[in-house]
């Protein structure tokens, strides 16, 4: 019998995707769930909803609350937290690199390294130099990987993943979708999504 799967839709600019990405491995192992990491872009989905920016910037009271809430969550989980400036960070190249890494062996480690740099240390993930550092830290050969990240194949893969997310009802990140299509939105629904994935 294969393990039940859970699709994990993550966006590298997304604040609540940070604690989700840092925790999902341990939770999935404990629950016996295989996680499929699906990096996508929220930008096109937000645009379809009429937003040209993060809703946390468009609606200031909501934004102020989100930063405070994330601060509390990270404190509780023992995760370092630093608010990235600017917010949101450009996440296009990172998302393409993640798709390259998920084809190989270093994808999940790269995703975690990006989130740790961005929200734990406040580094600029839109800066190619920062991404090179992170790849090197994972022992990845940087040049061929950057070339592949900019290939038509990977660009199209990211577009397709974003279209897939939108078609499955994703409207924010992180989102978790079980094999039966059941969707859970938000870091605070991650454990519930795991429980749904393994229920008989």
């Amino acid at each position: 019998m294969s393990r039940p799967t859970l699709d994990f839709y993550l966006e590298f600019a997304s604040t609540y995707s940070y604690p989700a990405a840092m925790r999902i491995g341990a939770l999935a192992q404990a629950a016996g769930v295989a996680v499929r990491w699906r990096p996508f872009l929220l930008g096109p989905i937000f645009k379809a909803q009429g937003w040209d920016n993060s809703p946390f910037n468009i609606y200031p009271a909501k934004g102020r609350y989100m930063w405070r809430d994330l601060d509390r969550i990270c404190a509780r989980l023992g995760l370092p937290f630093r608010r990235p400036d600017p917010f949101p960070q450009p996440s296009l190249l990172t998302a393409r690199l993640a798709h390259v890494g998920l084809d190989e062996s270093w994808g999940e480690g790269f995703c975690r390294a990006v989130y740790a740099a961005e929200f734990g240390e406040g580094r600029q993930i839109g800066d190619e130099g920062v991404l090179r550092d992170l790849l090197q830290g994972l022992g990845v050969a940087v040049e061929p990987v950057l070339v592949r990240a900019r290939s038509d194949e990977i660009k199209e893969r990211l577009r397709a993943t974003t279209a897939e997310a939108q078609a499955r009802g994703v409207f924010g990140a992180p989102t978790f979708i079980c094999a039966d299509g059941e969707l859970f939105w938000g870091h605070d629904r991650m454990a519930e999504a795991m429980a749904w994935a393994v229920r008989k």
Copy 2:
């Protein structure tokens, strides 16, 4: 020593306020917290954000998810659930009546009765006949209470509560605010708000 207090901002049209209102009494008793029920109107706050309707209607993917999520929450809590039609329900008279009741002894029971009728049975809480039924069920003298609900004093009290909520950073419902100003948004943050209220 008096018990720590928690301000509970509720809107009668708000879906997630339903499980919060049904559960907060037991949670507060267990935690040793005194809850101040603060019925307010989301309409003016949404309008200030540029919305003339519920965000769950404006953003259909988010709306579809919310209904499913609420269904799961109610199933888990053993609460009956029926989606009210139309949504959102007009909540003005109900909110005014709740302020009358909170001056007297039947306010919290009335709030719970409204939510149970609206989201448990799908009844029309904008209909004065339904509200009369609920008041009668609580043993309240209906006529004088309706007169008082429409008095300038109570109208102004509801306006002031909405302005107070907005000034304190409320942008959705339910919202919980501790004595030190710490704000928690959403039914899924209620236990955390209680824990914050009693922490030393």
